[in-house]
Structures are given as structure tokens and as C-alpha cells.
Amino acid sequence: MSALVVAVLLPGLAGICLALARAVVSARGAAAAGAAVSVLSLICVVASWSARDGAYAGEVDHPWSTALGLHWHLGVDGISLPLVVMTILLCVLVCWSLAADVTSTTDDHEGAGVVLVALVLVIETASLGVFSALDLVLFFIFFELALIPMWFVIARWGDPGGGRLAATRFLMFTVTGSALMLVGFVVIAVTAGTLQIPTLADLPDPLTGTVPLLGGVAIAVGLAVKTPLWPLHIWLPDAHSKAPTVGSVLLAGVFLKLGTYGLLRVFVSVVPEPAARLAPYLGALAVAGIIASCLACLREHDLKRLIAYSSVGHMGFVVLAISTMSEVGVLAAVFASVAHGLITGLLFFNAGWLKQRYGSATFDALGRGLYTRVPRLAVVLLFAATASLGLPGLAGFWGEMLALRSTYEPSPALDRTLAWTLLTLAALGVVLTTAYFVRVVRRVLQGAATPRDDDIDLTRTEAGISAVLAVAIVLLGVAPGLLTGVIEPAVGAIVQVAP
């Protein structure tokens, strides 16, 4: 069996075992085991990547259901590898934070903490599966697998008030979207007669016409809900803000990437012609999302909601890049996805820690002058905010820059005038992003300190998690070539490389 299969399935299987053995495992032990398993999974991924020959590392392709033409087809290329590694990294950190989470160990009745770890691991498997699936239906299976565990994470461990409602809305939105996406897949399967993504991407005569266009619309809508694209984003702020810290981190860090990755892997590459016809709409909605989310952020009074809204904006840049359907656009999309995963992961970790301390993440609850009250925590938040607003030299910049660059020189899919208009508006979004993060710093970190009893600075675990993410963010910021070198060779799998 390929190491990649092990890497994908291992966390989920471990999660099931943990859930079944929850009576005998402590939450802390489960979290440690989860982290260990994730690390193991990372090793497997690296192993199969270093042993790659051909377009996809660790490729396995077994017929699974001959009746459906469904294959157990997994493989990792430069588009998916960064996302795979980022997912595992975030899951390790999430497990780490769970291992040290005081509330989950003391308040642990009937193994709830263990179950949470198990759910995280199942979500990990699902995400890894999505990033490595090369069969449309297999992609869909993994895509759906993550949803119900995430519903439980938000509904059970989220805010007591409204957590369940938010979870259900999140689920309903994404499920409706993904069900439509399934219809799109069915259309493709019926018109092209295969489910294998590499085959579909290399069809001698790509799918054109009305029927594939409708299929493309269905796929795009499904993925747009997940990404999320304005105006389908409405589920996101509630879900992110009501979710527990680990849920928010995984939602923002990993889940949204399922949408953007899907747009690349099963939309642009599989139905290029319909995608080209839809690209202007995608681009326009993406920019509308950037502006709208930034404006909303300027009025948000809850840190977690604000970060959630900011994700809409950042994902807008990714979708904008994708809508250019150029090589740079693909590069930008992947880079920005990874960067957003790391940065927003850090932001949500941070917001979660603050919420844990002060019971709520609203500005009023946090008070002012965190610089004095919890200096190190404040500096981490400052760093994350700086990275998120796209400061050059940190990971977030290259994604945004490449996105803007791809918009300046789009493929013929995007009209030049439209693209430049979008470019201008998106650039305004950059300023607005600065404005609202600066506002957060001004409102929460600065100002005359209002000390509380709960002013506890970074714990060791928190510092460790912050350090890992910060190092990753700085590393990608100063040496973007590390990532682009991996992505670039695979760009041709998504869009046609100009001769």
C-alpha cells in the first residue's frame, strides 16, 4: 500500500479507535496520540513525495467500483502538497492545544475530550483525502466526510448560545452546495464518461456546450459556498465565531481551502471552457466579497467574527486569482491559500485564547491595553494581524501580490478592462484590510490598560503553537521560493501552460 494512502487514512482510523476507546483514554493522551499520528502522517506524505516519479506522488489507482467507474485514486502534486502539509501542521497544532487545554481535561465527562480529538482526526483524514483525491466521486466522498464531524465540533463544543444553530447553518449551506456540486459531477461523468481527474484534465477535446456549462455552474456554486464567495458567505461568520478554538482554526485554516482547492482541481482543470465563461462572474463576486468583507470588518465588534469576515476577503483574493485562469493565478491561489491557512490559523488560535481568558471575544469583553496586560499574547496578535494585512516579508503578502499580478495579466478568459477594474478595487481592499486590523490593534491592544484578574500571558503551549506558526509565516515570507518551487511544476495540471 502506498505511503500516501496510509497518510490519508491513518488519522481517521486512529480517530475511530480513540472514540471507541474513550473510556480508557484520557483526553490529554488522546490529543498526544492525535499529534503523533498526524506527525506520522506527515512523514508518510514526505516519504511518498520524495519517492515520486511521474506527475503525482504516491499515486494509487485501484478500481473501487467497476459499476460506477469509481477508482480509489489518490495522488499528490505540487498543487495539493502545500495544502496537505499545511493541513497536517494545523492538525498537529490543534492536537497540541487540545492536549494542554485545561477545560477539556477537567470538565471531561464520558470522554468528551477524546471524542473531540477523534473528530479532529476524522476531519484531518477527510481534508487530506480531498487534497489527494484524483477521482471526482472520491473527492466528493472526502468532501462530505468532514462535514458531520465539524457539525458536532461546532454544535457540541461551540458557544452554548447559538452554537448549534450556527453549526446547522454551516452544514446546510455547505451540504446544499456540495449536493449541487455532485450534480455537476454527474453531468461530467455522463458527458465525459470518466471520473478520473487527470484524464478529465487532459481530454483531447475539452467539454464545451450548454450541458457542461450547467454542470460547471453547479460545481462552481457548490465550491463557492465552501470557499466562501460573496454572497454565499453568510454562514461563515457565525460558524467561525461560535465554534470552539479548534473548530475555528480548522474551519478557516483547512475547510475554506477545500473550496479553493476544489475550484482549481475539479473546476478550472476539469471544465476549462465553462470555467472560462464563468470566470468574469467569479472574479467580480470575489472582489465584491473583498470590499464587502473589509467594510463589514470595520464595523465588527467581535474579534472572532472579524477574523471570520476577513477570511471572506482573503478568500476573495484567492478566487480572484483563480478567475484569471492564468499560471500566475494558480500559483497565487495555492500560495494565498496556504498563507491564509497559517495566518488565520494563528489569528483564530489567538482569538480563542483570548476568548478562553475573558469569556468572549468581543472588544468590550477584551478591554483595552492588552499590550500591558498580556504583552506576549498581544505581540502574537499584532504579528498575526500584520501578516494578515499582507505586509511584505510575511507569507500573506506573496499570495495577495501574485493575485494582483495575475489580475493584471489575466488569461483571455477575463476581459482586460474588467480585470483592471477588479485589480483596482481589490487593491482598495488591501487598504481597507490594513484599516480594520489597525483598528483592532488600536482598540484592543493599545489604550489605557483595563486590568482584569484573567490577565494571564501566553502559556507554554500557546507560545509553542505561536512560535511554530510564526516561523512558518516568516519563512514563507522571506523565502517564498520554497513554496513556489513546489507549486510551479504542477501548474500545468490546472491550466494550459502557454507555449
Binding site: 473501487w64 467500483s65 460506477l68 477527510a126 451540504v175 446544499t176 449536493a179 455532485l182 454527474v186 453531468v187
Partner: protein, 465 residues
Amino acid sequence: MIDWAAVTPALILASGAIAALLVTAFHATRTWRWPAIVSTVSLLAASAVAVATGSIDRLTLVLTLVVVLGTFMMVLAAGVMDHEESIPPGELHFLLLSSAAGGCCLVVARDLVTLVVALELLSLPSIALVGLRRSDLGAARAAWTFFLLSAVSTAVTVMGVSIVYGFAGNLAYDQVATALAGSTAPARAVGAAVLLTVVGLLFKAGAVPFHVWIPDTYRGASVPVAGYLSVVSKSAALGALLVVLTTAFGPVRDDWAPVVAVVAAVTMTVGNLGALGQRDAVGMLAWSSIAQAGFILAPLVGLPGTAAVAAAVSYLVVYSLANLVAFTTVAICRRRWGGTTFAHLAGLARRDPGAGLCLAFALLVLAGFPPAVIGLLTKYVVLLPPVDSGYGWLAVVMALNVAFGLVYYLRLLATVLAPPSEEVATPPPSPSPPYTVRFARAAMIAATAALVAASVYPDLLLGVL
């Protein structure tokens, strides 16, 4: 000429039915064990014969097995009611087997006469089953509702049959097909006759607007009988529908397909809407079985293509297994905790992990979500024929209903997996050692295992046709 391969299972079941009745009649005291043994033997024999002879073709074999094994499982599930004095065991098993014999006949019918008679043989005992519980007004009312509607729908069906006969001059499927293909009769009138003919089958399948009896009847009947209605009776009707639409009415497909598409769309939507507000597991499963019928009807628009048949049958099989598991679990829950509302089911996975996990898996299958891969794949499979034959809108409606359905499945799922609610946390003392519960549980676990196996190797199910 008699096709013994086709009728033997039905004959075995009919004999078994009489035997089960006699064995209780000649037993001195009320006995549950003996009729159950007789039923088990005859059901297993019937399935063995069906497998050995291969029935008429692959399709009827699968449908026969669904009917026979579904009945078998409900016989085992009915065992959990052995402590209820108001239920006569001999009659129960007699009626179950009789009805199952009707189901077997129904799926092998290749003639409208057989169809009508088999339909009645399926219906009348199941009506009696609903009203079986003595001096239970609810059951009697449910039976009356079921009876009256069944009678009307039968009348409509035979009216349709008579008109088809008027157009075709024949009642054997293949000759009807030939006659209709060459007929000069107005196509619309023929289409109407066809649809009137299948009203009885749609009624049994629970398609909107012929579904109205289902919620009341399921709730009035005992849980295993409701399960029987939702699985065996429904599968037999849908199987017969599949056969009759393919072999007899295939040539006039264009006349009935659009209406079937609309009926399918409305059925799944109404079923989901109805299930939305339910706080009782049986009520919810009743409505959900209406919605699921819509999903089974949808691929029929792709008939007479074999892909459509395969899609409908594989969905039917998976639905049947999942519903059997669900009803068995609910029956066990009712036996052990005295009720079927969500409050009784809350925390089932903690109180009774086996039942809880099986129910959870069955719900995931019904909803079509991983890890119940087979549920998802069959949802995918039934989407193919509508898209392939140009009913894109139907596919979209189906997709939306998949999402919609998740709401209530997930609600029950969350209830099952949640911590137990306080009032039912401690089980009441069981009146008798529940050895019958163990049998039911074994059946439940076996069916779940089949679903899990199919999730791992989908070809086990999807490859059968």
C-alpha cells in the same frame, strides 16, 4: 406453463404461513417461539430456493431476496413484542408470511392479472397486520384508514388495467408492450391508463399524492409492522413498478416519464417537509420513507435503460437495509425503554452502544453521508439517469432534497449520540429475559455489517445488476 423458479418462493411462504397458523392453533398455550421458527424456516427456504433457481432474472432475484430477507428480519424484530399479550403470535406470523408471499408474486408478475392479485395478496394481510393489536383503537383506526385507501387505490388500479386492456387487448406484459407499440390509440389516453394502472403500486410505495396513509398507519401499527410496510411492501411495489414500466409500458415511456419525474420531485420534497417537524422516530421514518420513495422513483425517468433499473434497484436495496436496521433498532428501543420518541432515543449510543451505532450508521446511509459511503454512492447512482435523459431539473431538486433531508436525519443522529436525557436514563426492568431482543439485535448487526461491507466494497451491491 408454470415458471416454478418464479413461484416456488411464494408457494413456500404461503405454506409456511399456514403452518405457522396451525402450529399455534394446535399449541396449548400462547407460543411465540414455534410460529417464529416456522416462519424462519420457510423464509430461509424461500430465499435458498430463490438463490438456487435464480428466479426469472437477476432483477427479480434481487427483489425477491429483498422481500424475503426483509420479512425475515422483521420476523426477528417482531420477536421483541413477545411480551405483549394483545398480539396473537400465530396470526402475526401468518399474516407476515402471506403478505410476503404476495410480495414475491408481485415482483415476479409478468401479467397484469397476476399483478392485481399479487398486489391484493400483499395488501390485505398487511392491513390486517396493522390492525392486529387487539382492543387498540389507534391500531384499528390506522387499519381502517389503510384499508379504505388501499381499496380505493386498488379500484383505480384495476380501472387502469381495464383501460389498458381496452387499448392493448391483452394482459401479459410483453404482449401489452407489443400492442401498445403498434397501437394507434391516442398516446395521451394510453399514458393516463398506464398511470392509473400504477396508482396501486405508487400507493404502496408511498409516492405523493398517494402517501397520505403512511404517517398515520405507521404510527398506529407496531414498529416491526411499520418496518415491514416501509421495506417489504414498498420494495415489492417499487420492484413491480420497475418491471411493469420497463417491460409492459416501455414503448410509451415518453407519455408517463414526465409525470413520474414530477411525482418523484414532489414526493421527495413533501416527504422531507413532513419529516422536518417530527419528534417521534417512527413518524420521522414514515415521512423519510416517503422522501426516499421519491429518490427511487427518480431514476425511473431513465427507463427502459438498464442503468436506470440498476440505479433504482441498488438504491432500493440500500434503502431497505438501512430502514430495516432503523426500524429494528427502534423496536428494540421501544421494548427496552418503552417508547420511540426522540426523548427515548436520546443517548442511545451511550446506553446501548450496539443499537446506537447501528442506528447512527443507518441514518447516515439514509442521509447519504460518509462514512456511509454506500448511501452516498447510491445517491450518486440515482442522479445519473435523470441527468442522462435530460431531466436536469430533477437532478437539482434531488440534490437540494439530499441537503434538506440531512436536517432531520442529523437531528436524530445527534439525539442518538448525545448524552442520555435524564428521564429515561435508567431502563425499566424488562418483563422477560429478552432472548428475542438478542435475535433482533443480531439481525440488526448483520444488516449493518452488510452496509459497512458495501461501503468498503461498493461493488458488492452496485455490481449485482
